[in-house]
Symmetry: D5
Subunit: 96 residues, 10 copies
């Protein structure tokens, strides 16, 4: 089941650089684990913003929320979730 | 080069059904040709709306506009374009 | 799987009354069938607007879209979909 | 009398973790008391956000405000209230 | 129980004048009946717009919706409803 | 001359409780003086928000601004002002 | 008493040219009468839009509404009204 | 003097094709005349929309409005105007 | 050349009173100098907000920006600029 | 390939002046290097705001993002990116 998720990140200006780097490092590791697991299906950078557009492939909405809400950067994110489904004109086998 | 494109379609209520069906048919054929060509990379339906979220893989912005503006349903669409680029945490080889 | 769906209905002013009544009648029958099936879990009227707030219990996003997009009043609706999941503080057994 | 209430929570980034946990604990206890009392009828988590969609069953608007404004997390919430009433197509006996 | 209701009216430009006048006449009569009944408590014109700000005193949300949705001009209105309750600093006995 | 004024209050999270209470106390006294003077005609709490909807009866716009801008909580308020006038359908003698 | 009024005009595309010209002519005459009376104090065109920014000097809000709502183009206008008062730094004697 | 102008065009769906083509033709000729005159300095198409972003070089705001308001497509345009001035970091001699 | 400028001021809550007063004093002096020079043509207070609506008469956009960006309160302002030009129905000689 | 980029800058009020000046200095140098390289094609100041409208000429979206995200002021910017392409009515040879 696919969900498009847009994440805009705003780190506090007064956050120490080390803290920010550590957060970004664990965020990166988590994101790559989830990509390897096939859950975080697509991850693109939005040009010109500290933001990404992603597509998640999850078994349930609960799983989606569990993933998003435990991302290290979650407290600093503005998130929009759009439920996707198969388009009648899609020829992609796996674009469920 | 990847662009996310969201298309919301509003057909006039008084459009004859045959005309609407003809438009949708040609739209569908065009979309499938472009998908086969690899240009229309992803095409998902937004749940609950006559809208889609798509990702286009084009050589230039001009090509993107040429494709979108000649879609049969273009005159009836509200379109939002977001320029995407490779995310530093992406592990997908081909998510340029 | 639960989705909150808000539907605002705008019928064209020049739609003949009989046509509008017929649409509403079939809409009503469909809504009641879906409620009996347990799919359309909650249906409330928004005070002061020709709109409703509903909660759907579906097996997939595709099923949700199939239901919404085939509602007789769908072409005249502005729809917002919010994916819901179980709240950690919820005591309701069945509020998956 | 039913009201839909959407609550988006934004805790200050510099709030000590213990303080935040304590607030969440009392919030949770209050929410569960109110659910047991039948007042907080539905409580769902919005996927991807520190937010919930709830339905309250209260005897008056004053009661609704009294409940919401004394929630431990109230000072950190963005709240939207929608007055609901029975939908003419609803088959649920108790969806007053 | 008090609700603030803001009503913005947009009549179709091509509506025959007689039809518009008839609608306004019955709207006016209904509004005055409801004011005499104490239900439509306050009715003010918003300066510069074909809109009003009103306060309704009703026994239930259902009653509020029944009143608003059967106003002759309802199909041509954009309506916003705000649930009001007694302000702790209010000295007005009857501003429940 | 009547003005509808909506006031949304946001006190800084790090404001000491005593300071906040003192501000609220003087705000309350000022509001009650103005109500006794007939200037602050209506004062209702918006359900679910630290906000009020009020109606002021003033001799001039300058007087309105003088009152609002010297309220103790003014620096912490988001204020919207709507100029009201007598509605042609109003039966209330004094709803100038 | 001064009010800033912004008026955006949208004439229906299918309005016959003569009708539109007649409306504009009477609108122009009314605007010039009101300017000569000192009521319509300032009238500027917003560059790039069929819109104006005006300042009205009226004795009451009722008078303001009576003027605006009887403008020939009123049914085709989107109007925003802002109540103005003397600025403490103003040196203009007559900018009440 | 430079102004950025964004123009979004919405032609009525029921406008005869010949009429639309004629409008576009004269619009095109006017735009090219103005470009040759150096007034319409930049003209770019917004990818995915029947819209353009332009920069006009004019002697006065009146001249800007006169140009825009007499464009053949003006009645079908949503226009936003942004006044530009020289940026302190600009190295372009002629980017007044 | 006339520009309408709306300035909404938000001073940080933790700014020392003396600093705020000093800023306001110099702002006031600057505003009065500019008014005497005829540049700051109109200055009105928006009722109910720490905001003003002004009209500037400048020789160029650069001059306008130079004035606004060097106002003492500029860093604490949300500013909207609207380019104005002579209205065809204006009878004011000097409302260029 | 051209992109319009609008950048609104908000520096924290409590940032030491030296730090702000240093940031602006490096930002200025970077901007001028990029202009000399032909990448930062146009750079205009938006009148009345600490903001600019720019046009970038880049070989890819990645290049655009790399430039923007490494600007010294990037963490303090609100950025909007619009993909541009050649307008069919453009006579400018190089307005690809």
């Amino acid at each position: 089941m696919l969900f498009q998720v847009q994440m805009d990140v705003r780190l506090p200006h007064d956050m120490p650089a080390e803290r920010a780097d550590a957060l970004k490092k664990t965020e990166r590791e988590r994101a790559q684990d989830l990509q390897r697991a096939g859950t975080w299906r697509h991850l693109w950078r939005v040009a010109g913003r500290y933001a990404n557009v992603s597509v998640f492939d999850v078994a349930s909405v609960d799983e989606l929320h569990q993933i998003l809400s435990t991302l290290p950067l979650f407290p600093y994110m503005q998130i929009a979730v759009t439920a996707l489904c198969r388009h009648p004109s899609s020829i992609h086998d796996d674009d469920r």
